[in-house]
């Protein structure tokens, strides 16, 4: 099976990102393909590299980056949602005249069309949110 996963909430505040990650790992372990994980709404906040959670807690942002590195999963952050909330890659920060960026490795910023494409190309589209 080919999956696209939609994540609508940021890390920690809601369990959605945790559940999405665990689901993705379980699907990969069974030999399924994760075509794409799309981060929308506050979900874009999963893609920051500036988080430093307590040492005895999980670091969700890094776990996503590892998932991308180990399994080649495509992690896409919605550009419109990211702009509202202050998630930026270097290119976008330059274009907007901002003095910093904060996106984590393995994530890329793109448009909502990537979500629709995921829905068309995948056998299943799963939504995790609040």
């Amino acid at each position: 099976m080919k999956y696209t996963i939609l994540v609508n909430e940021g890390p920690y505040q809601h369990q959605s990102a945790d559940t999405a990650l665990q689901f993705a790992r379980a699907a990969l372990a069974q030999g399924h393909e994760i075509f794409r994980v799309f981060f929308y709404h506050d979900g874009v906040n999963n893609g920051t590299r500036l988080a430093v959670p307590p040492k005895d807690d999980r670091m969700l942002q890094k776990e996503w980056s590892e998932l991308a590195a180990q399994h080649g999963v495509d992690l896409v952050i919605c550009i419109a949602a990211a702009q509202r909330r202050g998630l930026m890659d270097a290119d976008e920060a330059r274009r907007q005249g901002l003095d910093a960026d904060n996106i984590a490795p393995g994530f890329r910023i793109s448009g909502l069309g990537q979500l629709i494409e995921g829905g068309i190309e995948s056998d299943r589209l799963l939504v995790f949110g609040d």
Binding site: N8, A27, A29, Q30, R124, V127, F128
Partner: protein, 102 residues
């Protein structure tokens, strides 16, 4: 053609489970995850609603979320199936589509 309905909110707090049960058709599956798992405890206010739904629909609950919240297997309402994350994935394969009741 069947649907996997996913509910992640406590039925005591939100209307998602009740809405979902109003839409799930015979043969559909309903999976309770995250805070929704508090809904499956035998003897709680939703036991009657869930028992009625079990007549023609499958109801499953994610065990990892039950364990996190201190709900032992034996407190789960009769007829509800416990699944782990692997079982969650299998449910998305067995059903043709999924719908999250956010």
């Amino acid at each position: 053609m069947s649907m996997l309905h996913i509910v992640n909110k406590s039925p005591f707090e939100r209307n998602a489970l009740e809405s979902c049960l109003g839409y799930a058709l015979a043969g559909d599956s309903i999976l309770l995850i995250e805070d929704a798992v508090v809904g499956v405890v035998a003897g709680n206010r939703f036991a009657g609603l869930l028992t009625a739904a079990l007549a023609d629909r499958h109801i499953c609950v994610l065990r990892e979320d039950l364990v996190a919240r201190g709900i032992p297997d034996e407190r789960v309402l009769e007829g509800i199936r416990l699944v782990d994350y692997a079982g969650f994935v299998e449910l998305t394969v067995e059903n043709d589509r999924t719908q999250s009741w956010l």
